[in-house]
């Protein structure tokens, strides 16, 4: 249970949140036509006769869209319905050429599933929490109206018309904006792992309808909910909830009632406003689409869907902390995004090979390098660096030198910086630029002898039991060596000499 509570004038309130996420299915063609789905094309350049709803045109399901939705269902451990059916949702709008959306009301493709959001103390999520997912169904997206092209008319772009969407409907299991945010991030991560949706919220590939109601702590009845449509970022979803919660509490505490209605979120003000109430809601007149047969999936198809699933976020995180011995923090950071873990796993394999060690032995330095060292250098360098120069082989070469004690952490950064700027090889840079640690005991011993001679008093104090002075000798030695001495060698020699 989240600890999100709102103190009102009449008592303490809690919030109940359910999300309907629309995720655009990654596929080359639309759900029922062969037209392309690429984003950003010229208006009306990706419209088939079916999309434009010309007389006599018929929909034919695109197997790939169905496959992606099934794989998504499997990734959230959901019931897959081998028999499902398409229904028509009837309403008139200029962006809906058929006059109906083909969707799945009565028999969705995917039934009950779930995902887990992770504990996040700072965000007020004290423990891992399972969020139940009621269903996933597939449906057609609508086109887009353009109101800025003509003084009195609106234009219609049908490129998006008929693109496949998955509508992923959660149970009302979330009780704070943070949980809702975590849910969307987790869902997005799963979708991107599976490859069924690019999760790009800016381009509208993923958007959420946010259902919110409030009730007094201790009440068991759900309050009347509102639905805020088409919210297109995690931050906006959280803002919309916060605003709705505050608004609903104010209404209720003023003695008013919440109207069950559809609302719109205004990203500029972070507020929601009424779009239409239940009274003037459409009667969608759902009925089974007579142009389409029921969708029946055979075992071979389902088996292929399951076999094609990659390692999913939870499993990967468990493997990172278990097999690879990474910290919880590192594991979570590395598994959050597909690109991040992909880069990490490539570098890990490359480094393990370069060092001739098992991955588990090099995972921690590679993780630290991937999450903090390398990003720090890249960020500091800005436009001066070229990421194309940072090949896994070069990064592995740096990590190898560091592992062998040939370079220090600081030198590794300097070398990486030069790699990014020039594309030169790390070994050559270390050699040419003198970026190597001295492990030659002779030179270090010489320096130590000089320092001990110059600081006889401190040597005596140290030997008299003032252990803290060890750091002083290390610092002096490193300074004498101009920072290039191998710290481990320095430590060992100092211990030997100081006795």
């Amino acid at each position: 249970m989240s600890n999100y509570r709102i103190e009102g004038a009449t008592g303490t309130w809690e919030v109940v949140i359910g999300l309907e996420v629309h995720a655009q299915v990654t596929s080359n063609a639309k759900l029922f036509s062969g037209a392309s789905t690429a984003f950003g094309a010229e208006p009306n350049s990706q419209v088939s006769l079916v999309d434009a709803a010309m007389p006599g045109m018929l929909p034919v399901p695109n197997r790939e869209c169905i496959r992606q939705a099934v794989r998504t269902g499997m990734a959230i451990e959901a019931q897959i319905n081998a028999w499902s059916r398409f229904d028509r949702k009837n309403y008139f709008y200029a962006d809906l050429p058929q006059g109906y959306q083909i969707s799945q009301l009565y028999h969705p493709l995917v039934g009950e599933g779930q995902l887990t959001i992770e504990a996040d103390e700072k965000a007020g999520i004290p423990a891992d929490k399972v969020i139940r997912i009621e269903r996933i169904h597939v449906e057609q997206d609508a086109g887009k109206l353009m109101h800025d092209q003509h003084p009195t008319m609106s234009y219609v772009d049908l490129n998006r018309t008929g693109v496949a969407l998955m509508e992923i409907v959660s149970r009302p299991d979330m009780t704070s904006p943070a949980e809702a945010g975590a849910y969307i991030r987790k869902l997005r991560s799963i979708l991107r792992y599976v490859g069924s949706c690019d999760g790009n919220m800016e381009e509208g590939s993923m958007r959420a309808d946010v259902n919110v109601s409030v009730r007094k702590v201790g009440d068991t009845e759900l309050g009347t909910r509102t639905e805020t449509k088409n919210v297109n970022s995690v931050r906006f979803v959280m803002q919309a909830i916060e605003h709705e919660v505050r608004r609903q509490i104010d209404v209720l505490e003023d003695g008013g009632q919440i109207v069950q209605e559809t609302r719109l979120f205004d990203p500029n003000t972070g507020t929601t406003r009424s779009m239409r109430s239940k009274e003037d809601a459409h009667d969608y007149r759902y009925f089974p689409d007579p142009d389409l047969l029921p969708l029946e999936l055979d075992q071979a198809f389902l088996d292929e869907c399951r076999a094609s699933l990659p390692e999913l976020p939870d499993a990967k995180r468990a493997r990172y902390t278990g097999e690879l011995g990474l910290t919880d923090y590192n594991a979570r950071e590395l598994t959050a995004e597909v690109e991040t873990f992909a880069r990490f796993e490539t570098l890990l394999a490359e480094t393990a090979r370069a060092l001739g060690k098992p991955e588990a032995k090099v995972a921690t330095p590679v993780a630290n390098w991937s999450l903090s060292v390398a990003p720090g250098v890249i960020k500091a360098l800005g436009d001066e660096g070229d990421m194309a120069n940072a090949t896994p082989a070069r990064q592995a070469a740096i990590l190898k030198m560091q592992d062998a004690g040939e370079i220090s952490g600081g030198q590794a950064k300097e070398i990486f910086e030069i790699v990014l700027k020039t594309g030169r090889e790390p070994d050559e840079i270390a050699e040419t630029e003198g970026l190597k640690q001295v492990s030659d005991t002779g030179a270090i011993e010489e320096a130590i002898a000089a320092i001990m001679a110059a600081n006889e008093d401190k040597v005596a104090e140290y030997r008299g039991g003032k252990d803290k002075l060890f750091g002083f000798f290390v610092g002096q030695t490193m300074k004498a060596m101009q920072g290039k001495a191998n710290p481990a060698v320095v430590n060992q020699l100092l211990k030997d000499k100081l006795g």
Binding site: P55, F92, R285, Y286, F287, P290, L293
Partner: protein, 494 residues
């Protein structure tokens, strides 16, 4: 050369192939008949150049010694519900007036591929909704037949394929395409003394046919003989990946396998079709049919289709429900009529466009369909109707355990005068009472002429077969055709 227009599909094809006459001669003869028959109003547009071009292509192929298609040299009429590339396609509605598709329906394309040519686009009831061809925006079609009772009333050619039935009966075309949703091939065939078959649902692709009720619509041929129907159906049928409800099954050689010897076959007579008040001449025609099929060697058995009386009400829920949704796309936004009053918003444009574009019968069915699908009524109407539909299918399944084909009248009456039922939709709907059950069950069904009634008007007999068994339907139809001796023709008055 006017006698060429008395020839049917197979005779024309074989004559062209044999060199008895050229395809061009045939096309010219029919073009001339079409041009001279404006009084019948069977065509919305005529396309003589299309017929000639197709004929010339066939003649050239023959001259080059190439193989000819099964419809080679046969000019036909195309119901104006089929999209034809570059040729106006209207569904007989003002809302599509002037609409020229950039695509060709699968069925029409198959016919052109088989060597047929197009004489023109045939009139029909608006969006195929009607039983008299009186709902067309382009005026009613006249039945070439007239009663011999001294009156001069113009009769309905049946509907919705009224242009098709009139054109074939009047020798304006040897054959025509029709579509059948609740009887729209069979009833007009019966009213005009010709044959027509609605195949099993899914045999002919619906791609490119303006949709009325998707789960019922099915294309089929209308011609003057059973054999011609078989030949043409063979050219029209076949799996189409562009239609998800298309049957993925091979197309048998129906024409080649025609066989009127019905020994060993059982013909079912459904007792529920013997309704109170049915015209005595219709019943007499039915008895003729029974006798002819017995003569062909069949055993006649009684069968029961107990849910028959619910078929018509169920049909008039399911079909309008689907239509109300299918016709939503005619909204003035992308093609067809747009009525945009000064200062109008989107909703006003929809209302004005659809008010101006749809005829009264289409509006009636859109409203019916919208009503039965609306919240609170859906279960009472649509869900209930779908249950009835299942029961009707079960009735037929059980009947076909006892017989191979069912014989019944096609219609409860002969052709009626235009205007007779226009003000009484229920009376009009009742005309489909014998044809609707087979539509709801998706079964192949055919009408063949039996005899003229006392007024000199043709009557039809209906054969309903098992799913996928068009052959049995055609064979029984052939047996009737061979015994009825029906060779009456309407006297030319147009």
């Amino acid at each position: 050369m006017s006698d060429l227009t008395n020839l049917g599909v197979k005779a024309i094809r074989d004559g062209v192939a044999a060199g008895d006459f050229t395809a061009r001669e045939v096309a010219e003869a029919f073009n001339a008949n079409v041009a001279a028959a404006a009084d019948l109003n069977a065509f919305i547009v005529t396309t003589p150049e299309h017929a000639l071009a197709a004929a010339d292509a066939v003649d050239a192929k023959r001259a080059a010694g190439e193989e000819l298609g099964t419809m080679a040299g046969v000019p036909i009429g195309m119901k104006d519900l089929f999209a034809t590339r570059g040729v106006q396609t209207t569904a007989a509605s003002a809302i599509l007036e002037g609409f020229k598709p950039e695509y060709e329906s699968t069925v029409s394309q198959k016919l052109w591929d088989a060597g047929a040519g197009m004489l023109g686009k045939l009139n029909l009831d608006q969006f195929a909704m009607g039983s008299s061809n009186e709902t067309s925006h382009f005026g009613n079609v006249a039945n070439p037949w007239k009663a011999n009772d001294g009156g001069n009333a113009v009769l309905a050619p049946g509907g919705s394929s009224g242009g098709s039935s009139a054109a074939v009966a009047a020798r304006l075309a040897p054959a025509a395409t029709g579509t059948d949703t609740g009887g729209s091939i069979r009833q007009p065939a019966a009213f005009t003394g010709i044959s027509g078959i609605k195949p099993t649902y899914g045999r002919c692709s619906r791609w490119g046919i303006v949709a009325f009720a998707s789960s019922l619509d099915q294309a089929g041929p209308m011609a003057r003989s059973v054999e011609d129907c078989a030949v043409m159906l063979g050219a029209m049928a076949g799996f189409d990946p562009k239609d998800s409800t298309s049957l993925d099954a091979p197309v048998p050689d129906w024409a080649g396998a025609l066989n009127a010897d019905l020994r060993g076959k059982k013909v079912g007579i459904p007792k529920e079709y013997r309704m109170d008040g049915t015209d005595a001449e219709i019943l007499a025609s039915w008895d003729d049919g029974i006798a002819w099929l017995k003569d062909a060697g069949a055993e006649v058995v009684d069968v029961s289709l107990p849910h028959t009386k619910y078929a018509l009400p169920a049909y008039y829920i399911v079909a309008p429900a689907e239509a109300s949704s299918n016709l939503a796309r005619y909204d003035g936004v992308r093609y067809g009529l747009r009525d945009l009053p000064e200062g109008a918003g989107l909703q006003d444009m929809y209302a004005a466009t659809r008010a101006a574009g749809f005829g009264p019968e289409v509006k009636r069915r859109i409203m019916l369909g919208t009503y039965v699908l609306s919240a609170g009524f859906y279960d009472a109407y649509y869900t209930q109707a779908m249950k009835v539909r299942t029961l009707i299918q079960r009735d037929f399944n059980e009947a076909f355990d006892k017989c191979d084909v069912i014989l019944a009248p096609t219609t409860p009456t002969a052709a009626f005068p235009l205007g007779d039922k226009l003000d009484d939709p229920l009376a009009m709907y009742l005309n489909d009472v014998f044809s609707v059950p087979a539509s709801l069950a998706g079964l192949p069904a055919m009408s063949v002429p039996s005899r003229l009634n006392a007024k000199g008007l043709p009557l039809g007999l209906q054969l309903v077969g098992k799913a996928m068994d068009e052959q049995m339907v055609l064979n029984a139809g052939l047996a009737i055709e061979q015994r009825s001796g029906f060779d009456a023709q309407p006297e030319k008055w147009w």
